[in-house]
């Protein structure tokens, strides 16, 4: 009856085979699959809850105080109304700026050394290991370190000391992400450059680094975001200041320390400023990470 040598569905001998292909909604395997899928979605939702809650809380508490005044005025004395935290905003930019100026070049150059010049050597492995240890050091310990290294030797609290502490915190993040980014550049690109007669430096500067730049920038942004929210290492390095910053060797106000100081005061105005300060910090970090995403996408 069959014109082809192949079995057809009508063949009763194949019916068992065909049945095996049909959906079986009540089989243990299908049920287990469904249950696990639900659990995964629930866990994902739980993970998002704190993020949404924090954003909501900060927006609700601080959103009402959001105005230009925040950036143009100094913190008010207790019981006074209004005011802002312009000095702390500038202070955060200054300390993070000093930290970045130290940590970004050091970190990227260290990563170039680790991945391009010393890859696989014992020295590189040790430095990589120590970098990981450094990234696990609590920020308060970094603060104590900066206190004894900079504050005590310079004879006072200062923006430089704060920036130094932040640099120590940023360094391992930058070194690690930049090392990983450089390692992702295909070996073929390096060979092509060397095959054309590029020196080691030319290979790194003209081929490897440009190719790895987008992910390196992401790591840098991550480090900047982390540093701008740090409080503990700033409390006893940059300290605080109620007035506009006069220089880098004076104690300086920062947003994170302002939030720490004001949130626990009994004054409503100060509490509101603390909430507004938190909001600005969150916004700064968000803008930084969105900005880094955009840079990466454009490349």
């Amino acid at each position: 009856m069959n014109s082809t040598p192949f079995p057809t569905p009508e063949d009763s001998s194949n019916q068992g085979l065909i049945n095996r292909l049909k959906r079986q909604p009540s089989s243990p395997r299908t049920l287990f699959n469904t249950v696990m899928t639900v659990i995964v979605f629930v866990c994902a939702a739980i993970a998002i809850v704190p993020l949404v809650a924090v954003l909501w809380y900060v927006l609700e508490k601080g959103g009402s105080r959001l105005s230009l005044e925040l950036f143009t005025q100094l913190p008010p004395p207790p019981n006074a109304l209004g005011g802002g935290f312009g000095n702390a905003f500038i202070g955060t930019l200054m300390t993070v700026g000093i930290g970045s100026a130290i940590a970004i070049p050091c970190g990227i150059l260290a990563a170039i050394f680790l991945s391009e010049f010393a890859a696989g050597t014992r020295l590189a492995n040790w430095i990589g290991f120590l970098t990981n240890v450094l990234s696990g050091v609590p920020s308060i310990v970094v603060g104590v370190f900066a206190y004894s290294m900079v504050v005590l030797t310079m004879g006072g609290f200062s923006a430089i000391a704060g920036g130094f502490a932040l640099a120590v915190l940023m360094l391992p993040i930058i070194v690690r992400t930049a090392t990983e980014s450089l390692a992702l550049v295909p070996q073929e690109a390096r060979q092509a450059a060397v095959g054309l007669g590029a020196t080691r430096f030319q290979t790194v500067a003209r081929v490897v680094l440009p190719a790895a730049l987008p992910p390196i920038l992401t790591g840098v942004m991550l480090a900047v975001a982390r540093a701008s929210g740090e409080t503990a290492p700033l409390i006893f390095t940059a300290l605080f200041n109620n007035f506009w910053p006069k220089g880098v060797s004076e104690p300086i106000a920062t947003l994170s320390v302002l939030v720490y100081n004001f949130a626990t005061t009994p004054y409503k105005n100060q509490q509101e400023l603390a909430a507004a300060g938190s909001l600005i910090l969150v916004l700064m970090v968000t803008i930084a990470s969105i900005g880094s995403r955009l840079i990466v996408k454009r490349k």
Binding site: P186, E188, A189, Q191, A192, A193, V194, G195, L196, G197, A198, T199, Q202, R206, V207, P210, A211
Partner: protein
């Protein structure tokens, strides 16, 4: 039983009793070969026989491998390439390389070509050099309107010709090609082979290939490599080196005969 040095033309590259090691492992032994100027020399042989290893010795690309060692002589115009006074970077500028996998930089077509000349602060007309190099690799007509587009946007065959143009732009003396067509379709392969015939007017070409038809079609001289198991691992060596038609039609060695007739490898 190693026959070599047949071509009686002045060699541009020559190797004498070269042994190549990775650590203590002898990868290729007794490499003695003279590469004549303005010719195409093909290296054929089964996988692991050291064709690419020998090729990469000629422009000191193996220096990048930490365990690499070479004993013996490798000469370029009579000068020992491995003498301490020789700068490997300068060698690679004279002896260019095209790799198995097309590897354009993630830059524009123009910048890919200009990369090498910029390394040496080329003072001439860069636009003219880019055009000449692209014409030299028969790619100009296909890309002249999109020089600012990424080199990675080209097809595989175009990318490989871009890499050849990039090598030409350095105005080298010799171009080494490590299986340049193995990642290309047959039409792109033929284009590259046609290109080789034009290039040998100006350059000396050494090409590693797994494709025996390619060696017999495109090359003037052919070296057949083989590999043998020794107590220290698999070591490659040159079995026979002669004019391509001799290797393919009247080889002197039984192993060559078996390989070119497809009985092993």
């Amino acid at each position: 039983m190693v026959t070599s040095s047949h071509p009686q033309i002045q060699p541009i590259l020559s190797s004498k009793d070269a042994n190549i090691y990775y650590g203590n492992f002898l990868a290729v032994r007794d490499v003695t070969i003279d590469i004549p100027k303005n010719s195409i020399t093909a290296f054929i042989g089964p996988s692991g026989c050291g064709k690419s290893t020998v090729l990469r010795c000629f422009n000191r690309l193996n220096d990048l491998i930490k365990t690499f060692k070479m004993r013996g002589r490798m000469n370029y115009h009579g000068q020992d390439l491995y003498s301490p006074e020789i700068d490997p970077v300068a060698v690679r500028r004279q002896i260019g390389m095209v790799f198995q996998k097309p590897n354009p930089f993630p830059k524009s077509i123009y910048d890919n070509i200009a990369f090498g000349p910029r390394l040496v602060n080329y003072k001439g007309d860069m636009d003219e050099l880019v055009e000449r190099s692209l014409r030299g690799s028969a790619l100009w007509d296909e890309v002249k309107d999109k020089l600012n587009e990424s080199g990675l946007a080209l097809s595989g065959g175009q990318q490989q010709r871009l890499c050849i143009a990039r090598a030409i732009a350095m105005q080298p003396d010799v171009i080494l090609m490590d299986e340049p067509c193995s990642a290309l379709d047959p039409i792109s392969t033929l284009k590259v082979e046609d290109l080789l015939q034009e290039l040998k007017e100006k350059y000396t070409i050494v090409i590693v290939t797994h494709n025996m038809q390619q060696a017999s079609r495109a090359s003037d001289y052919t070296a057949f490599f083989n590999v043998e198991q020794t107590d220290r691992g698999r070591t490659g060596h040159i079995v026979e080196y002669d004019r391509t038609e001799v290797i393919f039609q009247n080889p002197q060695q039984q192993a060559t005969q078996s390989y070119v007739s497809g009985r092993f490898g």
